[in-house]
């Protein structure tokens, strides 16, 4: 191979080796970040700093957790909480998306429904609980109402914005081609709003998980939220944290699931989290 070409290739191949990639600054710092949290936690509990003496240490949390996961109660609880969230959030999708599409599309419809929704929006979801109990006397259903309300508004708003962001030219083109309103709905409004809808769905799922636990802690006999509260009362403190972790994992998994499903539908969406000083000068 000619010398010049070899030189050029050497120049090009300032590749980081595998080793340097594993031990790159980013991975090291990330690891330090995660590890230091646990180290700090353990130390604070061990040295009984302030009220940290009451908290369980990571080791205890792990041991209790390992045992808890094998009990039947855990799986019932997890299942119940997940079911409530899924029911509530799905209801939010089912009601929020069509409503949002119509509100975004037709001004008449928007005028008739949106003002009331805007008035209802600031009311925090837990405040709906008494009404929910009246409407849906079954314990379980009323608890699912909170994730429903929590998720409804993000889904609704994102859908509305999604429709409003559709380039007006698509509508005009469809009308020129002689489409009926129904065709416009299915072929312009719905697909055009999909990116925003998917974003709203992901957000809604996240917020819905926030709400699931609320209902369970206030009223209820089953579910991870209730179990956390009970662990506090029965002085089984490591389980509190185990419960929190369980909820966190489940919430995270369901958000990821929604994101994954919707990205399949819309391959051009991406999330960017990168620091600024990386991009200013290279």
């Amino acid at each position: 191979m000619a010398n010049a070409e070899q030189e050029a290739l050497e120049l090009v191949f300032k590749q980081p080796t595998f080793a340097s990639r594993v031990f790159s600054q980013k991975t090291i710092l990330n690891t330090i970040s995660v590890v230091s949290v646990f180290v700090a936690w353990t130390l604070l509990v061990h040295f009984q700093v302030y009220r940290f003496s009451l908290l369980p240490s990571p080791v205890e949390v792990l041991e209790w957790g390992r045992e808890w996961v094998t009990t039947k109660i855990f799986w019932i609880d997890a299942g119940m909480t997940t079911a409530r969230v899924l029911v509530g959030v799905t209801a939010a999708y089912v009601i929020g998306i069509p409503l949002g599409l119509m509100i975004g599309w037709k001004k008449v419809f928007s005028d008739l429904t949106f003002p009331m929704l805007e008035i209802l929006r600031p009311i925090p979801a837990p405040a709906y609980l008494p009404i929910a109990i009246l409407l849906l006397p079954w314990q379980e259903a009323s608890v699912a109402f909170i994730p429903f309300i929590d998720a409804l508004f993000p889904v609704l708003l994102n859908t509305i914005i999604g429709v409003k962001l559709i380039d007006r030219d698509y509508f005009r083109a469809a009308q020129c081609l002689g489409s009926s309103p129904r065709q416009i709905f299915w072929h312009v409004v719905l697909p055009g709003a999909l990116p925003s809808i998917s974003s709203g769905c992901a957000i809604g799922m996240g917020i819905g998980w926030m709400g699931a636990v609320v209902g369970e802690m206030i009223t209820g006999k089953w579910g991870l939220g209730y179990r956390i509260w009970e662990s506090y009362i029965l002085i089984r403190y490591p389980l509190i944290i185990d419960g929190m972790i369980a909820i966190g994992i489940l919430g995270f998994a369901s958000s990821m699931l929604i994101r994954y499903l919707t990205i399949r539908l819309i391959p051009w969406r991406r999330a960017i989290t990168e620091s600024l000083d990386e991009s200013i000068t290279k």
Binding site: M1, Q6, A8, L9, E10, L11, V12, F13, K14, Q15, I280, T281, K282
Partner: protein, 285 residues
Amino acid sequence: MVAANQNSEVVFKNVAKGAYSKKTHTVILKDCSLNVEAGKLTVLIGPSGCGKTTVINLIAGYERPDHGEVLMDGQPVSGPNWERLVVFQEAALFPWLTCYENVMFGPVARKAISREEAHRQTMMLLNRVGLSDFRDKYPMQLSGGMQRRAELARALINKPRVMLMDEPFRGLDAMTRKLMQEYYLGLFEETGCTNLFVTSELEEAIILADKLLVMTNKPSKVKKAIDVDLPRPRDWGMAASERYLEIKAEALELLHAEAIKASAASDKAEIDLAVGFEKLKTARG
């Protein structure tokens, strides 16, 4: 009128620059040598994606060459500086400042001249670019052409030694574009500042340039430097002259050849990691 400033010459010597991503390494410039003469308007023209913006970034100091040297008056360029100012493709006026405050920004940030003097020069420049009535408007309230003019004023007030224009008139409608070109020519002919202008419009390039640098595809270098010896000050009538048409034909031919090469062959600049690595291994023995 706008005062003339000291001029500088920019030289590229065998510059190589690449962009690295997870799977491939794209060589944008390779063995690129060019000369931006002091006091002249040099225009860089080439197929899109051939690294014209990279050349600007290297001269401005936002990026460093992987190989080779970027020299201004014989000294290597070490970082961004008021001496080499860029007018960006998408207007980069600070949206939270008014027109007036934007133009004042450079001198105020550098504390090079007193505030009164800065004010005087700002008003003069705003008058010169025709925006004195709009000094208290925010960029969002200005049209595209007005934003470009404001950006020119913002750059000129600092009397840079090299002005770098990165396709500044892109996206403007034809009439506004013509007006902007006239403005720009007027400003250049007054100040006589060293200018490097990047564009993909051939006609714009020729009517503006003292020297036309035609770039190749990636990995790019200067394919040919054409002297545009049309008389200054320029006017639109020259677009029909013989010399203009000669230059245009020559440049078109060069660009055409590059375009054909680009669509025919696969992109040579993207070297697959595995393939290249193998070659390197066998070469090293």
